[in-house]
Symmetry: C3
Subunit: 123 residues, 3 copies
């Protein structure tokens, strides 16, 4: 039991205009938690639109539940959601536009996180 818990970081750089790219980080972050790891998802660039209030409800693919259902399960599993503050400015979005579970952070945060975590995945 001496091994340190691993942390996996998922970065979502794609937005609601490419719905086929949005399920993977949520599914994989849930899987990471089930594997005994910590998991965080960082939304950057167009990715911030995924955690905009009301957007995940509109996305549904194949026989899968809506993205909102998958996102809610992911939050319940203890996965942390972080949003790039600079990206929200680039897209003229306001702090109140996002779901309350998504924490807005600065650009230095991502540079620090990718050095700290055990692995990062890019979507």
């Amino acid at each position: 039991m001496s091994e340190k818990k691993k942390t996996m970081l998922y970065v979502q750089t794609s937005g609601v205009n490419t719905p086929e790219r949005l399920y993977s980080p949520f599914v994989l972050a849930q899987t990471a938690k089930a594997m005994g790891m910590d998991a965080k998802i960082y939304f950057l660039g167009m990715g911030v639109t995924v955690v905009k209030k009301g957007e995940a409800e509109k996305i549904q693919m194949g026989s899968f539940p809506t993205l909102k259902e998958i996102m809610d399960q992911t939050i319940k599993a203890g996965v942390e959601l972080l949003v790039c503050g600079q990206s929200t400015q680039l897209l003229n979005m306001q702090r109140g536009d996002f779901i309350p579970e998504a924490k807005i952070v600065g650009a230095a945060t991502l540079n620090g996180l990718v050095l700290e975590v055990d692995a990062t995945q890019w979507y």
Copy 2:
């Protein structure tokens, strides 16, 4: 000769609708093998369409050979091709839809691989 052989993992998250994104992991995986490394390519999300039977034959860019020729060279060079099972479900694709060299695996596989390999590249 005591240094362990390095392994490079390439993840293809883009599909046949963005042909300009598809050559890089095959070219780089071949280069990795020529550099004495092991190399694997993991197809996820829309990326699974790249290893759908009959698709790589249709893709050709600039003065390069078809993607099928590049893929065949890559397989011959000993690069392993893995396909995300959940993504095939998301896109309503069947096991028999894929080229025989592509091995379908579960979501836990990618989380494990990115921790095991020496570096991962995302396309």
Copy 3:
């Protein structure tokens, strides 16, 4: 003062047809330099169009300066710009098509870099 300086590598695989994906690596590379790290940006696939002469001038988003202004600040901050030679061939571009600060390198370079640096970010 005994800790080695960290190096962050940013890989830009997206091109001028997706302007919303282009600011992040420049902003983050500048932030990395301000955090005391070394930073490099590698342009690959469609990403090479970002450092084509005259292209960054045409890109401007939200209340941000043009991409050219951000790129110039990034170069002045000491961030190195590398261009994948194979990608320029794939897109039928010539060596003289690129800004002089962008150094064209071979496919083996990226495989080597991702093993050497402390972390890589993919855009």
